[in-house]
Symmetry: D2
Subunit: 341 residues, 4 copies
């Protein structure tokens, strides 16, 4: 439940309200908005939200059950949210490059990728150790061994480490290694996982579901924000269409629309969106041209031998080409990339 | 990994193969197919499947990483799978009625629903105590208290209890109360949950994802079958389309197609598919007319006050009408309903 | 332009309005609605609709440029429109069977089909002589020779003849033979053709476009109604989805929704919707079970040799089975079929 | 029908084949391919293609009824097709700008637009005089008066004139004024119109249907090519998706895919694709970044007063911004724009 406060609420009124909630054992956290503050309360387990709260002085309204996203909206916060962690920043002027293999396979692969990502101006080393695979017969990831290899490669090259969490049972394990936690598109509406991510401290990259509307996407982000974790990075990675001749359909206009709707950063993943190597560089350029805050591409030292998604992985030698193109396009949209001033 | 055996494999060859696997600490379970048997091994955590297995005598092939469903296919088992539990049967001649409220709210509601479901010839009392809700501000379910109310109502009326599991952390709790575990469409590709369901003993109703192909749907079922739990009920509940004037699009031809592709029972949920009360009875009739193994409808004593999905809930007095229609249509497709002989 | 009149408009006011329009050379036709009448004017070629009309006494409003359908709506006419022609009726209590081959091929084929359709209780013999084919290398139809063969077979068996018109240049030719004119889904928004159909006298079957919303579908019907031809039969024939394992997705809930939105009859075509013979009978039963006003199925004496769409054509011996099923289901929804009383 | 010839066919064999066809009154035109030539014959009105042709010496095969596009394929012609008309070229190194209002309204509007398009480096002045409108109550276009105003404005500024044809009855009229004929997405499968366009001499811009696959799109182009008109420009203009918060979904990866599949030029229309002014410039940049051969944007001197599609029209002052961005991005993909060398 979110209680929207009047701009004019007095400290006394706020105090009364807090006491009222405490008596009913409802914990509450105050979040500052641009035009008004809100009280975010713990998940109500009461079937009926205590409607008398709406009548207390200083309360404008309670966000009703069917309401759309609020904490994620531009209306609540008009300035872009810049997410920082140990020097890493996304949502600010520089376009951020996220790259690495689809799945962590071995130390050599991670070392080669990490070196290439760093050389190309990348900031984040991605790589999956717990893989969501459509088929139970496909490679499911190395598990903790993969996390360890991933961490070591990231450390050696001064990169952030981003890894996917499949459900809340794995959360502590993955969060023990990674700097940024990724939620895949199949899990965009795994609500227990979203709630758990809201209660921990690391930034989260949330990927849009294959057939999710923008509103559902932002409501999924709201689950995390509501729990107290404001560091959510949105990721467009293609939606399902009727034409089987391409894996997904990268909804690039959505980047612009999302940035009108929300203050959160928006990253684009052209690798999963297209599933086809020859389309990744063009679509990465296009993503930069519409103003994405970051670009995420998969890379592999030997895509033909990759244990997962080889056909969409860039080759090592493609990364400098991408870097050059991003550096050329970024200034057109008021951004920078790499050594661009 | 699945190892497909030659029809002609000798006991000696089978023994050699088992020893070979044991030495490599790969557990294996033999499943009988109609034309050939298979060895289903534990989830390989090896990046590379030991390909020399394919060369052992008596082995026809190893199901490669990208292969489609196998245990779920009609090719593996041509006869319909009939799922039984304490006298309940689905997949057999009688059409099975699953009904109850969207969310468990209180004891009165459950009592009224259970009595009505029983009177209408229903076999299963559905109801959610852990609700997956698009908005974090919507009612999230009563949790264990709901499970208890649900169990009591089911017991009083001799109905099976079916309840949704949101992730593997809740699994033991829900399985401690329910007879049938439901996986919602947003969780159809929650792979850790599917694997956990494969390792437990209760029947599972798996709902098709909003934008999942039939192949992806059957691969999700395969995750459960592969774990050793063969009792999976598939549920068509509407897919996403481009026309916002209706919540989802109920893919009824899919019932027939699925029954050609798989031996598992297929149930239809016209309540979630349409989201609109006036469309539920017509679409339930249509589902019976295409040969669904079961029909699942939501019912509520007072839909206008429901905490979840009220607009799609049937009223108590609609259930006998539904029962009459099912009884009339079932014989046309070689089925029975209720007291139909 | 449609001018909505006040219920209270006096004959004098109506006269003044007519004179006003005549002076500006705008022809107008009065149509009676249930609660109010409207003046339907000829297509305005004026960029700016003369807004002063809205100020004349007796005028409630002018339908603005972006407004939705009006003549097609249940709001304008609450009673079902029954379309009659020479004893044929659709939209009334009996469910109507439309059947015949996809394409007219030769006299024998038409004779066999016509006899079978009549025997099964069918009322309309369908068959294309001008075929819209995705590939230019596919059979394009026999043209006028096909119309002649079609007419003769229909006459011999006392059936109505329905044939497709591809554009307005063919309209007079096809209308010279057929009783009912069909507009295919690819032509649902061929606006010059729709306008021309509005100016002629025969009933029109309008098929829903592959990716058309219900609103667009009814606006296409409105084009015909606005021209003065009120005899439009709507046809649901499947919409496009993301799953390539089935040709189209038959939107059966749409039949119920359309019948809430409009007074026009709604027919279902399970042959084009599924593209697969084994699915046609089940989906035809389902269409009857949701209350369709008619069922249209393709039939062919030798589907394996058909020049067009053979895989979806029923065999001759399937028609009596369909007839038996329709006769059993119709009474459940307050309808009749064949000799059902 | 297309008859694929052996590379090794001798003049004598070719002569025999021609005589054979002439005796059966089948006209044929030879088209040179890169690896083999083909004979394109007039639309067969024979139900059965004379299969004995396939047995004649020098004939490799006959394109069977269900085959996909051939003349449009990269396999038939590997070099890009450059379409020229009076100094205008598309498909070559320069990116071409097509711009103008949605609908021609009056002389002033056309003059303002034409001057702005020319100043921005545009080559083609677009504008509709026959408008396909979803609602019959929307402005339908000025007809011939619009064509005249359009022609005069284009002439005054040395621009090509492009206008839409709605059906074959209007073709001669529109072709009497315009340099390039446009086929709208609703008409992409208006086969009589496509055939008529194949028999006339002007270039055709063919827009992709709202729910058409790439294969269907190229088969529609094939209809025009087969008639003898090889000058077809393809246009991506957005496809339908499940999210109603944006009009269409611009499928930019499709530009790259189409250019792999076909030798025809591909233009992108971000105005219709998004329906929203603020998204047009970003998506135009993105289109240039993926390598589109041209960009088509709508512009209007006063979008708020436009009779059609005002919300998506750029303002006059947006065109120089677009020109600057295109000039910056074009060199990245080996192209030029405007005065770029």
């Amino acid at each position: 439940m979110v209680i929207v406060l009047e701009q004019s609420i007095t400290p006394d009124q706020a105090e009364t309200l807090k006491k009222y909630l405490l008596e009913r054992r409802i914990g509450a956290r105050r979040e500052k908005g641009e035009h008004y503050d809100v009280l975010v309360t713990a998940d109500s387990e009461h079937a009926q939200v205590p409607r008398e709260i709406a009548g207390l002085p200083g309360v404008r309204r309670i966000v009703p059950m069917t309401e759309s996203f609020l904490l994620a909206s531009r209306d609540f916060r008009s300035a872009n949210t810049v997410i920082e962690q140990d020097g890493f920043r996304v949502g600010d002027t520089p376009v951020v490059l996220f790259s690495g293999p689809c799945a962590v396979e071995d130390a050599d692969q991670m070392e080669t990728c990490a070196a290439a990502v760093k050389a190309a101006g990348g900031a984040v080393l991605r790589g999956g150790s717990f893989k969501p695979r459509t088929s139970p017969y496909a490679f499911q990831g190395l598990g903790e061994e993969g996390l360890r290899l991933h961490r070591e490669a990231a450390n050696r090259h001064g990169l952030m480490m981003m890894s996917e969490v499949l459900d809340r049972e794995d959360l502590d394990l993955v969060a023990g290694y990674a700097d940024i936690l990724q939620v895949g598109s199949r899990n965009m509406q795994n609500f227990p996982l979203l709630k758990a991510l809201g209660r921990q401290a690391k930034p989260v990259m949330l990927k849009r579901g294959l057939a999710s509307t923008r509103e559902e996407f932002l409501l999924a982000a709201e689950y995390i924000l509501m729990g107290g974790n404001g560091r959510v990075i949105l990721c467009e990675r293609g939606i399902r269409s009727f034409d089987p001749s391409l894996r997904n359909n990268l909804d690039l206009a959505s980047v612009c629309l999302l940035k009108e709707m929300t203050h959160l950063p928006v990253v684009v993943d052209p690798s999963h969106a297209t599933g086809t190597r020859s389309l990744v560089l063009p679509m990465a350029r296009a993503a930069a041209a519409v103003g994405a805050d970051g670009i995420m591409v998969e890379v592999h030292p030997a895509p033909e031998n990759a244990l997962s998604d080889g056909p969409q992985a860039l080759r090592i030698e493609d990364l400098p080409v991408l870097a050059r193109d991003l550096a050329a396009i970024a200034p057109l949209v008021g951004r920078t990339f790499g050594t661009t001033p």
